[in-house]
């Protein structure tokens, strides 16, 4: 155990202590359904966890007379998460949302011990009678921004900051690259993995490294706005992640893929209240209002915005699929045949790059 994980473990302990305190404080709220939320980052990250918390606030606003909500932020993925989830379950929470991929196994373990508690796990693929899963088709947004990137780049090098090489991120890179090269076949994507969801310093370093290598448009799949600031400082373009990050770089920020969990959370809490809740898998896109695009930067030419909007509505109406064959992988092998589209299964297990991405997928 290095010192850094030791620090995180201690942070987890502190989070555990915080919950116990909360459990005591909320005990007098009788009759109300207690709903718990577990976040991987701080609510104030203005990215991924912030958007989940917007969903929680929507639940409070709409159903505040019937439910009370608790959230635990900064929960490390892994063993600590299990303790945090367990504590939520034992302190009377009957519906618990665990909002990060790495909470998958801890959620299932706790769910096994608490069959009377309902769990909702985001972006995972394992379910149980009392564990439902949900995610957004983030890659649909990547198609739109990839197309914009292809038209805005002059160096034909796009920098892409990745968190962890999991299918959710890789399918985003691929959808982005396919749309990018459709409008600009000469463009290529360079990926840098920072092996963290949230490390502003490292994300900024990655952004600088990519820009120094010639990238003039950046896309990111990490949670802090650090790369937006770097792009602003260097006078280049960038797409926000999870949340509208315009104020961190008004000139640089072209648009952002914004996660929107509000309607989903409200509908699932309602289902738990009226007894219609059952385990299921929800994977929604633009059509289901689980993601939308932040306002386009006024600097974007009208024809680029119009084309982007057309792509977005085409995806919404099912006229266009982000993974429309023929799609070749890096070695030139045909993976999705002409006229075919990637199946959900293929997207959920994606562990290969399409043509146009530099480097290899880390194993």
């Amino acid at each position: 155990m290095n010192r850094r994980t030791m620090g995180k473990t201690l942070a987890g302990l502190a989070a555990g202590a915080a919950i116990m305190a909360l459990g005591v404080g909320a005990a007098d709220a009788q009759e109300k359904l207690k709903v718990g939320f577990v976040y991987v980052g701080p609510v104030s990250d203005h990215g991924y966890s912030y958007q989940h918390d917007q969903g929680r606030l929507a639940v409070e606003k709409e159903l505040g007379d019937k439910v009370t909500t608790t959230f635990v932020e900064n929960v490390p993925e892994g063993a600590d998460a299990e303790r945090v989830i367990e504590q939520l379950a034992t302190s009377g929470h009957k519906l618990i949302f665990t909002t990060s991929f790495g909470f998958m196994n801890p959620t299932l373990k706790v769910a096994q011990r608490h069959p009377d508690v309902k769990f909702e796990h985001a972006t995972g693929y394992k379910r149980a009678a009392n564990v439902a899963t949900y995610s957004a088709r983030f890659y649909e947004g990547r198609t739109v921004i990839g197309q914009i990137a292809g038209k805005m780049t002059k160096s034909n090098i796009i920098g892409y900051i990745g968190s962890f090489p999991i299918p959710e991120v890789i399918s985003g890179i691929n959808a982005f690259t396919l749309a990018l090269r459709e409008v600009n076949p000469k463009a290529e994507v360079r990926v840098v993995w920072v092996n963290s969801w949230y490390d502003p310093g490292k994300e900024a370093e990655a952004a600088k490294a990519l820009i120094d290598q010639g990238a003039d448009v950046l896309s990111l799949h990490t949670d802090s706005p650090a790369a937006i600031q770097v792009a602003q400082e260097r006078g280049l373009y960038v797409f926000g992640q999870s949340s509208d990050m315009t104020r961190f770089g008004p000139k640089a920020h072209l648009t952002a893929i914004v996660d929107d969990w509000r309607s989903y959370y409200v509908s699932r809490v309602k289902a738990a209240l009226d007894g219609s809740w059952k385990s299921q898998d929800t994977w929604g896109g633009f059509k289901d209002h689980m993601l939308f695009l932040a306002p386009y930067n006024p600097a974007l030419p009208k024809e680029i915005v119009d084309a982007a909007e057309k792509t977005r509505t085409d995806i919404m109406e099912g006229k266009r699929h982000p993974f429309q064959g023929p799609v070749k992988d890096q070695s030139g092998k045909l993976v999705i045949a002409e006229g075919k589209q990637a199946t959900d299964e293929q997207i959920l297990k994606m562990d290969w790059y399409v043509e146009g991405v530099q480097g290899k997928v880390p194993k």
């Binding site: 290095n2 010192r3 850094r4 030791m6 620090g7 201690l10 942070a11 502190a14 701080p42 104030s44 990250d45 203005h46 900064n74 920098g159 360079r190 990926v191 840098v192 993995w193 920072v194 092996n195 963290s196 949230y198 490390d199 502003p200 310093g201 490292k202 994300e203 900024a204 370093e205 990655a206 600088k208 490294a209 990519l210 120094d212 290598q213 010639g214 990238a215 802090s224 706005p225 650090a226 600031q229 400082e233 104020r247 961190f248 530099q358 480097g359 290899k360 880390p362």
Partner: protein, 310 residues
Amino acid sequence: MSADLALIGPVLAAMLTAATPLLFAALGELVVEKSGVLNLGVEGMMLVGAVCGFAVTAQTGSSSAGFAVAALAGAGTAALFGVLTLLLLANQVATGLALTLFGVGLSALIGQGFVGIPIPDVPELNIPGLTDLPVIGKALFGQDVVVYLGLAMVPAVHWFLYGTRRGLILRAVGENHAAAHALGYKVIRIRFLAVLFGGAMSGIAGAYLSLDYTPMWAEGITAGRGWIALALVVFATWKPGRVLLGAWLFGGVTIAQLHVQGLGIDIPSQLLSMLPYLATVVVLVLISRDIARIRLNAPASLGKVFHPDA
């Protein structure tokens, strides 16, 4: 290839800035440890410095005021540690860990109103002629003022420790507090001052991250750099010059592994990220094999509680 050569300048520049927060925090901790105190709360003090510096800069628009307040806030947090461990004789390791947890929470609390607020940039040095030099110009002569301040602190700390009487006394206190006490030196006061200095340096290190490196406040913005700084002190075998080398190594490897990935070179990035820590372990093993060398560098009274009456 000329394209690769052109990367040298930016890589050097990025390495220098990545090393700066490590350098400040590690130099401060080095002085603390040389006085015989082990303060594991560097991460916490950095966070408190980062948020206080950010808050002041956001209010006043002055980054110098921000750095000054960050140093004070870091020293204030360290004073708490000093009172607990030096006056109330609490266990240093446990208190230091508690200080980090405390700093994480306190900084998040103070920072609540400052998330997502923009602040003015710290001015960068620009010497006509020198800054425009090819390849190395920007790296050597185009950085923020704080980067140079950090570099200047290395000889300053070295001179203080090995060139002044006060430095000699501080080291004596760290080596054998009973003997120093018997000679009439005020062990607790000297250690308290060293702890305050360490806190101020950590505060500046934190403020460099929130004011300069990524000009924003975000919870946990230090992301473990305080712990790296602690490792650096051991890596450097308690020598200021080697702290600088170590900071460059740690910073350089961070930057290099990002570039390696961007260029699509097939080396696992995790392997590169691991290297500085591996080097720390190797250094630890090497110096532990040679008792004389440990005696020469590691303060003999490090982490030991001092009872004035004993």
